[in-house]
């Protein structure tokens, strides 16, 4: 069977495209990188791909707020193209700045307008950028390449990754719709995380969410920085691992795309 086609989208200031492409290729996809300027010139360039990944970085410096400018660009240029990609059976992933950008595009809340959206990602409670390893627990999600209950280590690196919602009712709605996909957890996988296990003060310790179909996932941490066993600072204590946990995250995504092709 042929390798699924994956596209890593970057913009001015995106900087994680290379390791994201590497992760997808290792996972079994034919992965390419494209600047969104080219997509804005010709939106049909997205059509051949079954996986779209918005890579991390600092699009436009995050000068007006994380993901703000790239998100506005995409809203105008792509219209409902991302939605149609999902309906066609495509997958979408946004990592870190890519997650912040997807939030701005409105893909997670298709029934809302930019002005009425319920979710936001904003400044870490610590007030500054932070880079460290954390653990994630997979919640009861519809995302087809995540396994509920699983716990895995992953590096995070961001200044504006605090997940918040407008009010508690919105949180309950998202939980009921199984859109809350990933949460920060203590390394044991049990109990409530406090800082720094929850590194940014996210409400409900949420680190990743999906759209209502589960086929578009956004998360703040970076699985693509944990492809090799030696990436993990505790590698010496973890016993023999043939690869980092992030490699599996991407490989499963590619498997889903392949199975559904």
């Amino acid at each position: 069977m042929s390798r699924p086609k994956a596209l890593v989208l970057r913009s001015t200031g995106t900087n994680c495209q290379d390791e994201t492409q590497r992760a997808l290729a290792r996972g079994g996809a034919d992965a390419e990188i494209l600047h969104t300027n080219r997509v804005i010139e010709d939106p049909s360039r997205l059509d051949p791909y079954s996986i779209l990944v918005f890579a991390g970085g600092f699009s436009f410096g995050d000068d007006l707020g994380a993901g703000r400018v790239w998100g506005a660009q995409l809203r105008h240029a792509l219209g409902d193209r991302l939605q149609r990609h999902l309906e066609r059976g495509g997958l979408v992933l946004g990592v870190c700045n890519g997650f912040q950008v997807l939030m701005e595009t409105g893909i997670f809340e298709p029934d809302k307008t930019p002005a009425t959206r319920d979710m936001a990602l904003y400044a870490n409670a610590s007030g500054h950028y932070e880079c460290r390893w954390v653990h994630l627990k997979t919640l009861n999600t519809l995302c087809p390449w995540l396994t509920p209950g699983e716990c895995f280590p992953v590096p995070m690196a961001h200044g504006e990754g605090r997940f918040v919602v407008r009010n508690l009712a919105a949180m309950e709605t998202l939980a009921a719709a199984r859109q809350l996909a990933l949460a920060y957890t203590p390394p044991s996988g049990e109990g409530e995380p406090s800082y720094p296990d929850n590194p940014n003060g996210s409400m409900g310790h949420i680190a990743g969410v999906t759209d209502p179909s589960g086929r578009a996932l956004g998360l703040m941490p970076h699985p693509e920085r944990n492809l090799d066993p030696w990436n993990h600072p505790e590698a010496a204590w973890l016993g023999r691992r043939s690869e980092g946990e992030g490699a599996r995250f991407y490989a499963r995504m590619v498997e889903v795309a392949k199975a559904e092709a």
Binding site: G13, A23, D63, C131, V164, E224, W230
Partner: protein, 976 residues
């Protein structure tokens, strides 16, 4: 402010967090205010602080457009609320307000981003003049007086060199910087000046050339029978500045009767030349040094490494100075050969004590705490935005840096062998790419070559540069693409001296014609000489074959980078500058690059005559160990490290922090940058100015030994290691300072030769002095050495964290009574004694044998002994591994210690170089010791479960130190 260009009053928008969401910036500011209140012993009565991000938008916009801009770009619908004021309207003040806005003409990346976005949405014309501005509005609830608020604003919110502070005043400047009449060629009357006149011109024109140099310039123009133009004089001053020419290092020196011709050539470069290491690809002559990384991959892959100093700009504006320091050294890497891809940044800071009482901060200087916080934020915001991991570095504290902090920034890059060289051809187009040119950073090169004084903040405001990392990121993306398509023949970055030095350097041996009116400007009104010497950031110059010009420009434009042809390289040997058709400069390149006079400077060195304070017996050895761990130089730097992205690009193997809880300091850091190679790269660095004050030559040896230990400890190959030197020194017109420089440079030669490790690049920053009144404060001689080493296999790297209870602890190397300049002396307030000095042959054998046993995976962990010696190293390993340990000093072989040296204190805290602690499984000890034959590798104890704590028996086998792991952790992190 002067008269404004007639801009209509702007819309004013302030974005605050909604009250139901917390405002981390406000919270952080309040915490800082509380800290200040405590420090000053005075409550200001401030109860709450919140920050509004302010924007001024063109008054011509209609209300719907403004609403749309707010919704789409400025305010988050969930967490933010926008306060909008129509043109001419000002906020009604319910709380005390402090406004901070950039001075006119100071670079504002946020405004630039907003402006581009507005243009894209079709709300303002593209390429129009800059009419978007930003400001910060701090709102404070409470009863502070305006005078208190102003003082607070100066201390916390604004840097008045680049920003205006408004207290109780809502009028914000709006508009472009005042335009000046267009000026063409300006001549400077110089041929008939006497010595006094020449010196006066040098100072008032901020040329900072000395009398001999001014004579040289005068003679040159007398011979030409004409006066120099302003552009020419500026070009000469930039090119001949200490910053660009290294006049001291390359000049003639009389060292106590001995004649030294070109110190650099006869010491550091001589070592490299004589070692003639096959891994060296390009050394000293380009923007960075290049060594071989893996010849088997992609037709041969090399690495480039450069470390820069950015001291004076960081003293005045720590945030901007450190950011542009990083930005500049990244461009050095982009501009080495035909361009290397940056893969790692390093940084090192030398600052005053963080708890220094305000009254000891010299007039005109910022408090050391503010400097450190500023430089950390500057490196963070620039490095993180570039997507380059900041992996290694350090912080050193000494009151001697209080007025003149040192900031070092380094970058490592990957470069395929075929791009390691560059060549300009006559006929090539001069293409400038990147950011636009403004009045920022005028006279940076000359400014950084003179001493600072209490007025530096004011007169050198123009020397401050503000970086825009996103522009640099775009340049980097496009440059590497253009390189891979072979679209240019040579490249260099615009650093100090701007276009004048970049084009002047590339034209050397050729010639060039430059049309200055073609340079894209941020705003109108720059004179041709301002255009020529501006140090506006994020610009690079390429030499492009005219046949490839269109394709090359297209690559840059596809990344939204401006690329503009300024002229042509030719073979005339002259550098000709034109401005709207008028020749504003016409210089002989040979005179420009070869005309610097070489003065003879005197150098002497008198070793300080101080009684040896020895190593006193400790009253409470357990407490001393904890106190040592809390010393600023040793204590955890995690609060800094965590703000840097250290694993972007996915190549991290050993990061800056190691251990089960990622809370202990790594020796070297390790990257695995090429997935198809099994090789990895180790980076290390070292400095010790306390050693330097006592014995500059021993400092050089010890610092190089430590930089070697850093990488060897991680499994770096000592036979494939290269070094970089960075000297920051006081005024070298003073013979004692120059003498110390000579000795340190000689030490560099000796150590490099002994280890077979070439220097591949370096940079010096002399004249690090600060004048206040008639007093001069000088920094101590500070040599910062960086090391880069090839790790043969990424699978075999070794970290410093203790791995398993019951494993043996071996002390490798010999301990001598060397505590001169040690951390223990610093703690105890002692000064003097013998500076640690490596036995170079023994050291080299130690590194090689340790490397060979690592190859067979005999070493479970390895930590080098540096500041704080054996005791601190052991505690750090235990902290990292979350294990206890028991060691016995009585088993350590050593020569008799002299009178005044307590055996326990000496064994625990001597800083003798070339030593390591290694962890070995019990069954592997014999094999390891036999492999290490000839090198002391003494089992001194073993690691234990955590709850046993750290126990040290004294030289008689009696209990000496007993501390728990919690005590160790708390001491190490107390300053957090």
């Amino acid at each position: 402010m002067g008269p404004q260009t007639g801009a209509a009053a702007p819309w004013r928008i302030e974005i605050f967090r909604k009250p139901e969401f917390d405002d981390p910036e406000g919270t952080h500011a309040l915490a800082q205010i509380r800290a200040l209140e405590k420090q000053h012993g005075q409550a200001l009565g401030i109860e709450a602080v919140r920050l509004g991000r302010g924007f001024l938008l063109p008054g011509e916009l209609d209300v719907d457009q403004v609403r749309r801009i707010i919704a789409e770009l400025l305010a988050d619908p969930v967490v933010d609320e926008a306060h909008t004021f129509e043109p001419g309207q000002a906020p009604v003040r319910e709380r005390q307000r402090v406004l901070v806005a950039r001075k006119p003409g100071v670079m504002d990346p946020v405004a630039q981003t907003l402006e581009r976005s507005l243009a894209q949405l079709g709300l303002i014309p593209k390429d129009g003049p800059s009419l978007v501005q930003t400001f910060r509005a701090w709102e404070l609830a409470g009863s502070a007086t305006p005078a208190q608020l102003r003082a607070l604003g100066q201390e916390l919110f604004a840097n008045e060199v680049i920003e205006d502070l408004h207290v109780g005043d809502e009028s914000l400047h709006y508009g472009l910087p005042p335009e000046r009449p267009r000026i063409g060629r300006v001549e400077v009357a110089l041929r008939h000046l006497d010595d006094a006149g020449l010196l006066e011109l040098s100072t008032s024109g901020q040329l900072y050339l000395n009398l001999a140099e001014m004579h040289c310039v005068r003679d040159h123009y007398q011979a030409q029978g004409r006066e120099p133009s302003a552009c020419e004089l500026e070009t000469i001053a930039q090119t001949w500045s200490e910053h660009c020419q290294h006049k001291t290092f390359r000049g003639n020196i009389d060292f106590e009767g001995e004649h030294i011709e070109n110190l650099l050539k006869s010491t550091i470069a001589a070592a490299t030349h004589e070692i003639n290491h096959p891994m060296c690809v390009s050394v000293f002559h380009d923007n960075a040094g290049i060594i071989e990384f893996d010849p088997e991959v992609q037709g041969g892959m090399d690495v480039a490494f450069k470390v820069e100093t950015h001291n004076h700009p960081s003293a005045i504006d720590p945030y901007g100075g450190a950011g542009t320091g990083i930005g500049g050294v990244i461009r050095d890497i982009l501009g080495v050969g035909r361009g290397a891809l940056p893969i790692a940044n390093t940084d090192a800071f030398f600052v005053g004590p963080q708890d220094l009482p305000q009254e000891r901060v010299p007039k005109g200087s910022l408090h050391p705490r503010r400097i450190l916080q500023g430089v950390v934020a500057g490196v963070r915001d620039y490095g993180n935005r570039m997507g380059i991991p900041t992996v290694s570095g350090g912080v050193w504290f000494d009151e001697r840096y209080v007025a003149n902090p040192l900031v070092y920034a380094g970058t490592v890059g990957l470069i395929p062998r075929r791009f390691a060289t560059k060549e300009v051809h006559a006929g090539d187009v001069i293409l400038v790419v990147g950011g636009r040119t403004g009045r920022d950073g005028i006279h940076g090169a000359t400014f950084s070559s003179v001493e600072l004084d209490e007025d530096s903040e004011m007169v050198s405001a123009a020397a401050v540069q503000i970086g825009d990392p996103i522009t640099e990121k775009k340049v980097a993306e496009a440059l590497i693409q253009a390189r891979d398509l072979d679209l240019f023949r040579a490249v260099t970055d615009c650093g100090a001296g701007g276009l004048s030095s970049a084009i002047g350097e590339m034209a050397e041996g050729h010639g060039a014609v430059v049309h200055l009116e073609r340079v894209p400007l941020k705003y109108p009104g720059l004179t041709p000489d301002e255009i020529w010497i501006s140090e506006a950031q994020e610009r690079m110059v390429l030499a492009v074959d005219p046949a490839k010009l269109a394709e090359c420009v297209a690559v840059f434009e596809a990344e939204d980078v401006e690329a503009t042809a300024l002229g042509t390289f030719n073979a005339t040997g002259r550098l000709v500058l034109e401005y709207h058709g008028e020749v504003v400069g016409d210089m002989d390149l040979e005179f420009l690059h070869g005309g610097t006079p070489k003065p003879l400077r005197k150098a002497t060195w008198t070793p300080p005559k101080i009684a040896d304070p020895g190593a006193p017996a400790l009253e409470n050895p357990s407490q001393t160990l904890l106190d040592m761990l809390a010393q600023p130089g040793i204590a955890s730097k995690e609060w800094i490290v965590r703000q840097y992205d250290h694993n972007v690009q996915g190549a991290a193997v050993i990061g800056p922090m190691s251990g089960v809880h990622h809370n202990a300091p790594s020796d070297g850091t390790v990257l695995h940058p090429l997935p198809e190679s099994k090789r990895a790269l180790a980076l290390g660095s070292a400095a010790n100015a306390r050693y330097g004050r006592l014995d500059p030559e021993a400092m050089a040896l010890a610092v190089i030994d430590e930089a070697m230990r850093n990488v060897v400890a991680t499994y770096g190959d000592p036979g494939r290691t290269a070094l970089l030197d960075n000297f920051s020194w006081g005024n070298c017109d003073k013979p004692e300072n120059l003498g110390a420089l000579v000795l340190a440079a000689r030490g560099c030669y000796t150590a490099a030769k002994a280890f077979g490790t070439p220097f591949i690049s370096g940079k010096d920053s002399l004249n690090n002095e600060y004048r206040v009144g008639d007093q001069t404060l000088s920094i101590p001689p500070t040599l910062y050495v960086s090391s880069i080493s090839i790790i043969p296999s990424v699978n075999a790297v070794v970290t410093m964290a203790a791995k398993k209870a019951n494993n043996l602890i071996l002390l490798v190397g010999l301990t001598r009574p060397e505590l001169g300049g040690s951390e223990l002396h610093e703690l105890l307030g002692l000064w003097g004694g013998k500076v640690p000095k490596p036995d170079l042959r023994y050291a080299k054998a130690t590194f090689e044998k340790l490397h060979s046993v690592m190859k067979f995976k005999q070493v479970a962990s390895c930590h080098d002994l540096s500041e704080g010696g054996l005791a601190v190293a052991l505690a750090e390993m235990c902290l990292a591994g979350d294990l206890g340990a028991e060691i016995d000093l009585s088993v350590i072989d050593h020569d008799n210690f002299p009178e005044g040296y307590d055996a326990n204190t000496t064994l625990l805290y001597s800083e003798s170089p070339s030593r390591f602690l290694i962890e070995v499984e019990v069954g592997k000890k014999f094999h390891l010791q036999s492999k290490m034959s000839g090198i002391a590798a003494t089992p001194i104890g073993r690691f234990l479960p955590r709850e046993k704590g750290i126990k040290i028996k004294d030289h008689l086998g009696q209990p000496h130190v007993s501390v728990s792991l919690d005590q160790v952790r708390d001491a190490f992190t107390a300053s957090h």
